[in-house]
């Protein structure tokens, strides 16, 4: 890069591949100072950009979408649906007669699909043995660090409607 070159009339290849061993890793004070200054500037600009982005970020809007009828899922049963887009698989679990919970199906570790383990009453990820609580999506065991994002459900007549996603407890 020309900015970091020491002043010289030799062609670039001669500077980059000098035949003197002493020149091979030689960096002048000026080159080093330029490197430090420009790197610090780049780091500063990067931090400003991150700061600006966090200021400008808005709450995402979620669609309302009916995901299941109340009598569609048996007690202890599950239904897979997509929310908020077609590419986001979610899992609905009927934990009791009138208790439904839904979570994103992507494990927060490496995005494997979690499934409902009825014996343990836990959401389990088969890839690396990660387990999540059914009640709130919290991590119980395994490599994931963050809880499963929760799909907030509302009841409308005999239908369950997904309202929004919520970062887990």
């Amino acid at each position: 890069m020309k900015l970091f070159r020491r002043p010289s009339n030799a062609p670039l290849w001669q500077d980059e591949f000098p035949f003197y061993t002493a020149d091979e890793r030689y960096v002048s004070r000026r080159q080093f100072t330029k490197f430090l200054t420009l790197t610090s500037l780049a780091m500063f600009a990067g931090n400003l950009w991150i700061l600006g982005r966090s200021w400008l970020r808005r709450e995402p809007s979620y669609p309302r979408r009916a995901v299941a009828r109340l009598d569609e899922v048996p007690d202890g049963g599950v239904k897979i649906f997509s929310y908020p887009t077609e590419g986001d698989p979610c899992i609905l679990v009927r934990t009791a007669a009138d208790s439904y919970v839904a979570y994103s199906q992507k494990c927060t570790h490496l995005s494997c699909a979690v499934y409902y383990d009825r014996q343990l009453n836990q959401l389990a990820c088969p890839c690396h043995q990660g387990f999540f609580a059914v009640a709130d999506g919290a991590v119980l065991q395994g490599p994931p660090r963050r809880p499963l994002p929760r799909v907030v459900l509302e009841r409308e007549g005999d239908e369950l409607v997904a309202v929004r996603m919520e970062e887990g407890a």
Binding site: F17, F19, Y20, T21, A22
Partner: protein, 166 residues
């Protein structure tokens, strides 16, 4: 590595020393595509670095003195490095220690100039290319630089099988 060879073994026992001249701007290092030939801090141009050399023979063809040799079994260029293992610890290179007539001498040019009629010269002219070297050649007193036309030394005789010295 021994850098001597017979000139024409059938006709004469004369040998030629392929002693590297350790150019100030070594052509071999400039043409090396693998950055394998280096000039050390003390001015010695070393053999190719084993991890880098790709045995392409660029240096063999480029050197105006014809010093580098491609050593096929090692897949590497090797040449006179002024016995770096010896000279780096203060000993004389092997060729200078065994030469009985001081045709090869490991002394400073100032020191040898006082003992000989000839004058040490380290400027060579190959066509339009001027080369200055670390190693000096003894030349007649009036000569400032040694001019060599490579065509004068090109072999134009019958192409006969010459037994290898080693």
């Amino acid at each position: 590595m021994i850098n001597f060879d017979f000139v024409d073994r059938r006709e004469t026992i004369a040998t030629a020393a392929f002693v590297c001249w350790h150019c100030d701007e070594p052509t071999c290092a400039q043409v090396c595509p693998a950055d394998a030939i280096k000039k050390y801090e003390d001015g010695i141009v070393g053999s190719s670095l084993k991890p880098r050399c790709i045995a392409c023979s660029n240096c063999v063809l480029a050197c105006p003195f014809g010093i580098p040799k491609l050593v096929a079994p090692a897949e590497q260029m090797m040449k006179c490095d002024m016995c770096y293992d010896r000279t780096s610890v203060g000993k004389r290179p092997m060729c200078a220690t065994v030469c009985p007539s001081q045709a090869l001498a490991y002394v400073t040019p100032e020191a040898i100039a006082q003992t000989r009629r000839e004058k040490p010269v380290n400027t060579f002219q190959f066509g339009s290319q001027t080369i200055t070297t670390k190693v000096f050649m003894m030349a007649p007193a009036g000569v400032e630089s040694i001019s060599i036309d490579v065509a004068d030394y090109t072999w134009e005789g019958e192409n006969e099988a010459v037994p290898q010295a080693f």
